[in-house]
């Protein structure tokens, strides 16, 4: 069993008070940022290392980080921004909270390096409002970094400026969508923008902006320290590096595990002590609540990387692995997921605003034993009318679980409908 042979975002976890500057310094922290301040390397070379590393966005979309940075035109005049997305809220996902709490300096270093690479002198970390303790930790770390002369204007006489601020959310899942997040920093409702224009052309305050997930940015200092090839070699081609998986639900030891991409699910489950109570595995949602459910038997044969899960018809998403044991009521689970998306739809696009409500109401009707024979077709129809018809991905995220649950567990829904009230008691 591989127990943290290598680690990237969690490499400070073994230290006493890992969130402090001297702890981070003790493992070579800020070494890459100081090298940049002294040597002023060509940003294109740094971005090449990131591309080589095959680091893909850890928030859920899996877009190659190096490629995203290369979209920013450094030669364009005017202000540019780097924004970190710490609006962690995809059900099942709890990794960024721990990065903020236990390794905030590595995220600061990652943001500063990102700022240098894309030509941004200002960064904002958007942290969800409920994360009081993580915000305190991160802000204290920012203060430490300023006091140590690692942030600010003309840092250490380098001529490089980088200022870093926190913007707290206030309870809205949709702000994890990058353009909704920008709207929120601009002091508005978090409603996603049309793309194009993409943030690299017109982002925060209409200026070129790059938005990356917390885990992606926190990976950057280690990639530069050890090299893009090293990071790539930890995982698989096109699936470079280590990834934090939040393994929750019906497991003996729910936890965050940072393991190489491509690790067999079987091994991940074993590291969490197996299914709770020694039960049989029924199903897994492998990448956060938006990703299609995979039956247990199939899941036991899969590896945890972007391409393997895509081939199996699901997604790696944010790396939130939700484990369900034998005996789990799939109707109740899907009704719960549908409620989430109905509650969190921003209300901007009609198919999502109305459709998520329909999905939730019909599923709760079935759950209460009041389902009708035509309800499964109705669910399928409503899901199809949402898919691909909305500005952002929340609509698809609501529709995809419905389609996958009906595909694999249709008989459970049919049983509820056939037995009516009797099924409920």
């Amino acid at each position: 069993m591989v127990e943290r042979q290598n680690s990237v975002c969690f490499r400070t976890l073994h230290l006493d008070q890992p969130w402090r500057l001297d702890s981070y310094r003790s493992i070579g922290g800020y070494g890459q940022w100081e090298r940049i301040l002294q040597e002023r390397p060509d940003p294109a070379d740094l971005i090449e290392q990131l591309k080589l590393s095959a680091l893909r966005g850890r928030g859920g979309a899996g877009f190659p980080t190096g490629l995203k940075w290369s979209f920013m035109l450094r030669s364009a005049p005017g202000q540019r921004y780097i924004v970190c997305n710490s609006d962690e809220g995809e059900p099942g996902t709890c990794k960024d909270r721990d990065i903020l709490r236990y390794n905030p300096h590595q995220l600061i270093e990652g943001m500063a390096i990102a700022g240098y690479c894309i030509g941004a002198t200002v960064g904002y970390n958007y942290i969800r409002g409920e994360f009081f303790e993580p915000t305190e930790r991160f802000e204290a770390a920012v203060q430490e970094a300023y006091a140590a002369g690692l942030l600010g204007k003309d840092i250490g006489g380098s001529g490089i400026d980088f200022d870093l601020y926190v913007h707290n959310g206030a309870g809205a899942y949709i702000c994890g969508e990058e353009t909704a997040l920008l709207e929120s920093i601009e002091g508005k409702k978090g409603q996603p923008r049309y793309k194009p224009p993409f943030p690299a052309q017109s982002g925060l305050y209409g200026r070129p902006t790059t938005i990356n997930n917390t885990e992606s940015l926190a990976s950057v200092p280690v990639i530069l320290e050890k090299g893009g090839q090293w990071f790539l070699d930890q995982g698989l081609p096109n699936n470079g590096g280590l990834k934090v998986f939040s393994v929750t639900g019906h497991v003996e030891k729910p936890r965050n595990l940072e393991v190489p991409l491509g690790t067999p699910f079987r091994e991940l489950l074993a590291q969490c002590g197996g299914v709770k109570g020694g039960k049989k595995l029924k199903a897994v949602i492998p990448g956060g609540s938006s990703t299609p459910v995979v039956p247990g038997d199939q899941m036991m044969e899969l590896n945890m990387d972007y391409d393997s899960l895509a081939k199996a018809g699901s997604m790696l998403g944010s790396g939130a692995v939700i484990v369900m044991a034998e005996g789990t009521d799939m109707v109740k689970v899907l009704a719960n997921l549908a409620h989430f998306y109905a509650a969190e739809s921003c209300g901007q696009c009609t198919p999502c605003r109305e459709g998520t409500g329909w999905l939730s109401r019909v599923l709760h009707r079935i759950l209460k034993g009041q389902g009708r024979r035509e309800d499964l077709d109705l669910l399928d129809d409503a899901a199809n009318r949402i898919m691909g018809r909305t500005i952002c991905a929340l609509g698809d995220a609501a529709a995809m679980p419905v389609r996958s649950f009906l595909k694999h567990y249709r008989h459970e829904f049919e049983r509820y409908i056939a037995q009516g009230e009797r099924c409920v008691s």
């Binding site: 202000q79 962690e88 809220g89 995809e90 059900p91 099942g92 996902t93 709890c94 960024d96 909270r97 904002y124 969800r128 409002g129 409920e130 994360f131 009081f132 303790e133 601020y165 913007h167 707290n168 959310g169 206030a170 309870g171 809205a172 899942y173 709207e183 929120s184 920093i185 601009e186 002091g187 508005k188 409702k189 978090g190 923008r193 017109s202 305050y205 209409g206 939040s246 393994v247 929750t248 639900g249 019906h250 729910p254 936890r255 965050n256 949602i285 609540s289 939130a320 939700i322 369900m324 789990t328 109740k332 689970v333 719960n336 997921l337 409620h339 989430f340 509650a343 969190e344 921003c346």
Partner: protein
């Protein structure tokens, strides 16, 4: 530049503006304003609402929202939009504390239903309501992002992890 990336502004008489709230709140809001470009005072609306809500004992009145609008020199409607959109702003009176039980999937799989039912029965309070003694407002909330500790409850600014109904009772007991 599109309309969307233009701040909405509505100037306020400086004599009025410098007497809003109190010096501490004004200084705290000013520290937030300083994080953003000068023409984007509007960006401070969320932290300003958070500060003012806390100062007011947990909820926002129309008058307070109007004052936030005046202080940030933006139209009141733009402030109402924000205050009514985000779940952490309360527009009705709240109890002395806010007990927020996560109802999303990892918590559901680990006993959040029992917690929610327990709170409803033991404290005679439905989600969105405040207990008769004014001690707390009960909320069912969506994923709190601490799923490995499910079931999770947020009371005011503190996360409680792996909670049983008994442990939650003890915690609530300790609140003033």
């Amino acid at each position: 530049m599109s309309l969307k990336s233009t701040p909405q502004t509505l100037p306020t008489d400086p004599a009025v503006r410098e007497n809003l709230f109190n010096p501490e709140i004004r200084a705290a809001i000013d520290r937030h304003i300083a994080k953003y470009p000068p023409e984007w005072k509007q960006s401070a609306v969320m932290p300003a609402l958070t500060l003012v809500q806390e100062w007011n004992g947990g909820w926002l009145t129309i008058e307070l929202m109007n004052e936030v609008a005046a202080y940030l020199e933006m139209p009141p409607i733009a402030v109402y939009e924000v205050a009514s959109f985000y779940g952490m702003y309360d527009l009705k009176p709240t109890g002395r504390h806010k007990v927020c039980v996560c109802n999303s999937i990892s918590c559901l799989l680990n006993g959040s239903e029992a917690l929610i039912e327990h709170v409803k029965k033991r404290y005679q309070v439905a989600p969105g309501e405040t207990t008769a003694d004014g001690k707390f407002t009960f909320k069912e909330v969506e994923c709190l992002g601490a799923c490995r500790h499910a079931p999770v409850v947020l009371i005011d600014k503190t996360y409680g992890e792996n909670l049983t109904p008994e442990a939650l009772d003890r915690w609530i007991e300790e609140l003033d």
